[in-house]
Amino acid sequence: MSEKIFPTTSSSTFDRRSLLRRSGAVVGLGALLAACGKDFGGDTAPGRVGLADQATALPEGTINDALVVRTMQSLEHAVVAALQAMGAAGLYTSSQQTYIDRFIADHVSASDALGEAASAAGAEPYACPNPWFVDRYVTPVYDAVAASDDVARDTRSATLAFETMLAHSYQHMVGLLSEPAHRRLIMTLGSSASRRSALLSVLWTAPTHGYLGPALSDAATESDAAGFPIQYAVPASFGLVSQIPVIVGAPDAEGSRYGTSFQTPAENTFVYDYMSC
């Protein structure tokens, strides 16, 4: 009877024969993977299921001075559309309508100047409302204001926000322009927009909240006691290009009102050269 000096363990199964077998499996798997990665010259596009139309690529838009001018022209018309809609619905008092009529005349005059600049730059004027801005802001804001529990308050808020949006947008667009003459035109119109915005603030918010915003006065607050944002005549030391908060409309079942923020133009708002009225 022989005596086992070294007891059998699981590690003892890793012998020369097993090593050869496993090496063979590794080599075989490597060959399989290499074959899968080989280019056999077939269609590399993802498989198609069904008969849907092929996707069409969007046209390439060029950002240049003409685009800036055309975009601002379209925003002037968008604001005109908003003011005219609120005026036609009788949302303004007779004294307010005096200002609004002057504002609309200013917007039309600004559009004419921008259209001339577009033509001079070899582009087609865009004398109609910006479609993206109308869909995203003008229509929903107007709908909310018209159905509000305080139409007078919300008409003031919306009008002020539209004019302030133009002021911020003109200033913002300066950084996208290359020609100093275009910058001068844009800020001439931007100055007028700032004046209209400030005038509405002076008339509608200054009597209660003062002229100076929170950046300039400790007494000033971002919103009133009811939570509505306050647009000050002089909100900060420098002109702003920030978004403009708007809260309008009747409260829903949970007490929330329609809220949005007007923003300065970006790629989705631009009026590209392939767009026309």
Binding site: R102, M187, G190, S191, L212, A215, S237, G239
Partner: protein, 200 residues
């Protein structure tokens, strides 16, 4: 930019309380620093890019003129305050214009150390009298027209953006001053600017 009104210096010793003038100076220093920061923020990251082209000599000269104009405006508002104008708006306007001068410093490196003495001398009396508000309105309107000429000359986009932000703010000043005069309902005062630029 938030500036605590009426707060004293960070450190103080008993018996050495800051005077109102000291507090005003502290506030101004805060505003100046804030203005430079805002100017940098306004022009974005481009201003710190090594590849950013330098301002030309003529642009620097023009911006220096604009800076001196702003310091002149600050001193004219201070002149009105020293003559008895007590509305806090006067001090706010003075600080606004100092902020613009420091904003130009932040962009260009030009020291905000001198006003336009000739312009100051021409307008000083009007800021000390009963017509100070009208003089201030006229100055703000002229400032807007002047900066529109400046922006129409600048090739540098960062400088143009800074001047644009000053134009926006000073346009608002005009409306506020018209309202303080009791003429906020006059659309010709609030919406139109027929002032001629004041050029070098």
């Amino acid at each position: 930019m938030t500036t605590p009104k009426g707060s004293g210096p960070v450190t103080s010793t008993p018996g050495d309380a800051p005077t109102a003038e000291d507090q005003s100076d502290s506030r101004r220093r805060l505003l100046a620093g804030g203005a430079a920061a805002v100017a940098f923020a306004a022009v974005g990251a481009r201003s710190v890019s090594a590849a950013r082209p330098r301002l030309s000599t003529s642009e620097l000269s023009l911006l220096k003129y604009a800076q001196r104009f702003e310091l002149t405006a600050r001193d004219l508002y201070d002149e009105a305050i020293s003559a008895g104008a007590s509305d806090p708006l006067w001090e706010a306007m003075s600080e606004q214009h100092e902020a613009y001068a420091h904003g130009i410093s932040g962009l260009t490196g030009l020291s905000a150390d001198s006003r336009d003495d000739d312009l100051f001398g021409q307008l000083r009396v009007s800021f000390r009298g009963a017509g100070a508000l009208q003089a201030a309105y006229d100055l703000e309107s002229a400032a807007v027209s002047t900066h529109l000429e400046v922006i129409g000359t600048l090739a540098d986009v960062d400088a143009a953006e800074l001047i644009a932000s000053i134009i926006s703010a000073e346009s608002r000043h005009c409306v506020v001053l018209a309202d303080v005069m009791g003429r906020g309902n006059e659309l010709g005062m609030t919406l139109d600017n027929s002032a001629a630029p004041i050029l070098p």
